[in-house]
């Protein structure tokens, strides 16, 4: 079960990171704070670093070191142009998947998805003709 949870999280976390960076640049720690907010989602903080480095390798984000007045320098990440594009595409896909999950588990009743029913009837008629 734990493994399944991890798998599901991985992709969605990546999308969330792209979304957060689309609005403003972040360094690792601020990104985690931004993602988890105050509601204490239990996130192993270190898991975002492999994702950031992969995104960086894929050219979706770029990074630069910035001196900090409060301690060691911080590595800031910004979304590149192809990163913005990837975020747009993935966010759209995520919305569609969300609807799919909601519909599959019955959260949206038939009223909200009227185009489904007629199609089934048409298929039935076609079968009768045969």
């Amino acid at each position: 079960m734990e493994n399944k949870k991890k798998q599901l999280r991985k992709g969605i976390l990546e999308l969330a990171i792209l979304g957060a960076l689309d609005r403003q640049s972040h360094y690792g720690f601020s990104l985690i704070k931004h993602l988890t907010g105050d509601n204490g989602i239990d996130l192993t903080e270190g898991t975002i670093y492999p994702i950031l480095s992969r995104l960086s390798r894929e050219g979706l984000v770029s990074a630069e070191w910035v001196e900090s007045s409060q301690g060691p320098p911080r590595k800031y990440y910004v979304l590149t142009e192809s990163g913005s594009e990837a975020h747009r595409v993935l966010a759209g896909e995520f919305t569609r998947l969300q609807e799919l999950v909601a519909r599959a588990s019955g959260a949206i009743d038939r009223h909200d998805a009227p185009q489904d029913l007629p199609q089934i009837e048409v298929n039935k008629e076609a079968n009768h003709d045969c």
Partner: protein, 242 residues
């Protein structure tokens, strides 16, 4: 705002960063140090924001939230590089190999040779089976062709057919030859088709060693032993430094 880290806290931090570096063995020096600096920066910020009074408790909390070095680096390295980072297992493996060599070898060699011999025999039998099937198909096919040609050229291949000194009248010989050809052909094709059972059996038998290794690796006690080994190394190094 400056953050004070006492000696103990510093030691715990150094230990963590050291383990992180070990996990990153195989990366170019520059990449490794950049990631370590980034993680250090994270720990510093996280430590500065934490309000736990006791320094040791605070740093342990920070590191716990951050996760183990293996989690922080997963994905930074390709699989082969990760294995390179596991060098600490090497002495143990060498020792194990040494003992197996001394005590297991005399017993093992005989058994191994027997197994390999049986395997080769089996492979040869399967090979023979297919050669026979191929011979049937070929001879059936050739019989049909020769018979067909003989309709037009009755003298074709005649010296070979007369080997038994029996000359059948053509109206009798033709259907007989065709029938023989078809039967041979079908026999060969049938053997090839039925060969899939043999193949399945052979795949099972030859796959057994690999399968049992996979099963062994999934056994809870095997996983537990491996994790325990890693955990005890971490615990030892912590005790040594704190």
């Amino acid at each position: 705002m400056t953050v004070e880290m006492n000696d103990q806290v510093q030691k715990i931090l150094d230990n963590y960063l050291g383990r992180l570096r070990r996990h990153l063995q195989g990366l170019p020096d520059g990449d490794r140090e950049e990631l370590v600096r980034e993680i250090y920066s994270h720990i510093y910020d996280s430590y500065a924001q934490d309000e736990t009074k006791d320094g040791v408790e605070r740093i342990l909390g920070v590191l716990d939230r951050l996760g183990e070095p293996s989690e922080v680096v997963s994905g930074h390295l390709s699989g082969s590089m990760k294995r390179m980072g596991r060098k600490r297992n090497l002495p143990f493996l060498i020792l194990a190999g040494f003992f197996i060599g001394i005590f297991g070898l005399p017993l093992g060699v005989g058994g191994l040779v027997l197994l390999i011999g049986l395997g080769i025999t089996l492979a040869a039998l399967i090979f023979t089976y297919y050669v026979a099937a191929g011979a049937f198909v070929l001879s059936g096919w050739l019989t049909i062709i020769v018979t067909t040609i003989r309709i037009f050229y009755p003298h074709f291949f005649v010296e070979n057919i007369h080997l038994l000194d029996q000359v059948l009248p053509p109206e009798f010989a033709l259907p007989l030859n065709y029938a023989a050809g078809v039967i041979l052909l079908l026999l060969g094709v049938g053997m090839v088709l039925q060969g899939r059972h043999i193949q399945r059996g052979a795949r099972y038998l030859f796959g057994l060693p690999g399968q049992s290794m996979r099963h062994l690796r999934q056994k809870p006690w095997f996983i537990a032993a491996r994790e325990k080994g890693e955990a005890s190394i971490v615990a030892n190094s912590l005790e040594g430094q704190v």
